[in-house]
């Protein structure tokens, strides 16, 4: 093969590589646009008067800057209350899930005891029950516990959904950490809890973060139980608040989308900040379960 042929082949390969790369980016752009379109449209509708939203042909950008939807949301103390409730609920459920779930996962990961496999299987099995089927039993239990229409009723309910996941995730993550760490720390005088808090948890930070993000998202986005287990406006959360904008005589589209944007922002920001940990945490937690 001559030098000219070699050069020609190299140029061809380079072009093919470039073509493939361009195609990958085109495909990624198309997929990203499809995935992002509902969010883009949500932002667009939040910045337009409803009459523009329904005008033909549809327009992505508003004719002029319109922030009435946002203004009405921020001026209404009810919506501020919904946000506060959702934050409170998300933070409490996340902290409790991590605290209890990590201790349980530590037990499953580092100790063998009678019925440990059955217990772990039970924890996994709870994730397979569709939550809608639990609504009526939960309703009864929460009323019986006198926690109906309280944030603590929701905390308890969400914990039952978030805890199994936290246990499974953290157990999987802790299993990937060699026991040599535990032994070295024990020789240095660490108690079992010292091993967990001083040695294992710092290493398991990505797992903790991904579990925290998941549990926060679970309580932040949950609608059905929040609607069923609360009744006063003071106890409502963001998703229920959004649903209350669907009235008998029409929808407040601009307000609803403005509140949806406001409700989505914390989740988006949180996910962007810890995305790296979430991906690594999920993949590591998924190796062993």
């Amino acid at each position: 093969m001559t030098n000219a042929q070699n050069t020609h082949t190299t140029v061809n390969e380079e072009r093919q590589r470039l073509f493939r790369r361009v195609m990958v980016y085109v495909a990624l752009t198309v997929v990203t646009l499809i995935m992002a379109f509902p969010i883009i449209w949500m932002v667009s509708v939040s910045l337009k008067p409803t009459v523009e939203t329904f005008s033909l042909p549809p327009r992505l950008l508003p004719n002029s800057l319109y922030l009435d939807g946002y203004t009405r949301i921020f001026e209404n103390p009810q919506f501020r209350r919904f946000l506060l409730n959702s934050y409170l609920l998300g933070i409490v459920v996340t902290i409790l899930s991590l605290a209890i779930g990590t201790l349980a996962a530590f037990g499953f990961s580092r100790y063998r005891f009678f019925g440990d496999k059955a217990a772990k299987l039970f924890v996994i099995t709870t994730q397979m029950v569709p939550s809608i089927t639990l609504l009526i039993p939960f309703f009864g239990v929460i009323v019986w516990l006198r926690l109906y229409d309280t944030i603590w009723g929701l905390v308890l309910t969400y914990l039952t959904f978030a805890l199994p996941y936290a246990v499974i995730m953290m157990n999987g993550y802790l299993d990937t950490i060699p026991r040599d760490f535990d032994e070295a720390a024990t020789i240095d005088g660490c108690s079992p809890l010292g091993v967990l808090f001083r040695v294992l948890l710092p290493v398991a930070a990505p797992g903790l973060i991904s579990t925290a993000v998941y549990t926060f998202l679970l309580s932040w986005n949950e609608f059905l139980f929040a609607l069923a287990l609360t009744r006063s406006v003071e106890m409502r959360t963001v998703p229920v608040g959004i649903s209350m904008m669907v009235g008998e005589f029409g929808l407040k589209w601009d307000e609803m989308m403005a509140f949806s944007v406001i409700g989505s922002l914390p989740v988006l920001v949180l996910f962007m900040l810890v995305q790296r940990f979430v991906v690594s945490g999920l993949s590591a937690g998924g190796i062993k379960g």
């Binding site: 904008m245 005589f249 029409g250």
Partner: protein
């Protein structure tokens, strides 16, 4: 412990017991009643909360707790809350729920309460449809009323070559076809026949037209969908569709979308409660818009709709709850309730106050209320809400060309009877 300390301790304990007794006494003197409704979520921010406070100021022994649910969840909430024993005392109601709630014993008969001398209103002054007796009793009272009207985009009507809204079916057909022919995405009229629950499309458009045709879907308390008037009304809608006068997307169109497209100036006509005027005028002040009676085919009638109030049969505070209803139906308060929703009052004594300085749309509604025949038959319809879904499905099939109006009527009748077995 010295004697002095003993005396101090005894005095402190006595003071604490006295304070606790006093507090307990105060707490038990005030009765809390709950009012489950969706009204406070309907464009009336703070209004109902202020109303409750106003009531509490004149009734210091009663506290009103507002429980506001999204409209789509209220019916389920009333049933589930009652089943679990946390039901409210005063219930916001919709007439089509009546038969279902009566069947499960949720509602308290109101006859004795309505007969009280202390009431702030006379029963004969109330809008009559909701208080008509079923099984010998009255089950609800009207907070306000929304006659169904036809909202008209006059700009499109005039562009299509007409100078007045249609008043008959023939005129409606002619104008709707002409408006659709204008192009640029305009349609004559929308039919919101989405199957999305509560799938109330047929009751929004079909029933008002049926009533102006002199038809009914009930014979007493029995479904009677398969009759010539119903078939004639179905033919009218089917013909409009074939002529291209109906807005596209019938099967996915909800009442909300129908309203918004009218507000955006895309449809010539919208048949819906008069209360929609508030949204129309508020969101598009530039729309050249009037409200008129639903075009008729010989009968001047309107479908009555409104917000009703009832007492829960499980309430432990029925007298206090009725006191609150009594307050809401008093002339002055009821006028304010109606004005807040741009509706007509449930207590017609308040009509004069509502009419003072009211705009053209409200005046049109008052005129319809005074001159046309009110019709409401869903209140006693068995499984009314369930029947809307099957009406929707069968009418979708008809408008898709899969069956004739005669087959549609027969299918709805058969399925409805099957549903209530």
């Amino acid at each position: 412990m010295s004697e002095e300390d003993n005396v101090k301790l005894t005095c402190t304990l006595k003071a604490a017991v006295a304070a606790a007794t006093l507090l307990a006494g105060t707490a038990s003197a005030q009765t809390e009643i709950e009012w489950l409704q969706w009204f406070a979520a309907e464009n009336t921010t703070g209004f109902y909360e202020a109303l409750a406070e106003e009531f509490e100021a004149t009734h210091p022994d009663i506290k009103v707790k507002l429980v506001t649910q999204p409209f789509g969840k209220v019916r389920e909430s009333i049933v589930t809350d009652s089943a679990i024993g946390v039901g409210s005392d005063v219930l916001g109601l919709n007439m089509p729920w009546t038969a279902e709630f009566m069947k499960i014993g949720l509602l308290e008969p109101l006859d004795d309460y309505l007969a009280r001398d202390t009431n702030s209103f006379a029963t004969e002054d109330l809008v009559q449809a909701p208080i008509g007796k079923i099984e010998g009793h009255t089950w609800m009272v009207p907070l306000n009323a929304f006659p169904f009207v036809m909202h008209v985009n006059m700009q499109l009507v005039e562009q299509a070559g007409f100078d007045a809204p249609p008043s008959t079916w023939d005129e409606l057909r002619e104008q709707a076809i002409a408006i659709a022919a204008l192009g640029e995405g305009t349609s004559g009229i929308g039919l919101p026949f989405s199957s999305q629950p509560p799938a109330n499309g047929p009751i929004l458009t079909f029933l008002p037209l049926l009533y102006t045709n002199g038809g009914r879907i009930m014979d007493g308390t029995t479904p009677n969908f398969d009759n010539p008037k119903v078939v004639e009304t179905l033919h009218f809608l089917n013909d409009l569709n074939k002529a291209g006068a109906i807005a596209p997307g019938i099967s996915s169109r909800t009442g909300g979308v129908d309203l918004e497209e009218f507000i955006a100036g895309r449809t010539g006509f919208l048949i819906s409660p008069g209360v929609h005027a508030q949204a129309i005028e508020g969101r598009n002040a530039d729309l050249d818009y009037v409200a008129a009676a639903v075009p008729n085919n010989g009968i001047e009638a309107y479908r009555v709709h409104g917000w009703e109030l009832g007492l829960s049969s499980a309430s432990r505070n029925k007298d206090e709850a009725w006191e609150f209803i009594n307050f809401l139906l008093s002339k002055d308060v009821n006028a304010r309730v109606a004005a807040a929703s741009n509706a007509l009052p449930g207590n017609l004594e308040a009509l004069e106050i509502v009419g003072e300085g009211a705009g053209d749309v409200m005046q049109a509604q008052i005129g319809i209320l005074a001159e046309h025949e009110p019709v409401e038959e869903l209140r006693q319809a068995p499984n009314a809400v369930g029947s809307w879904s099957l009406m929707t499905e069968e009418m979708q099939s008809m408008l898709n060309g899969d069956q004739t109006p005669e087959e549609t009527a027969a299918n709805v009748q058969a399925r409805w009877l099957d549903l209530i077995k």
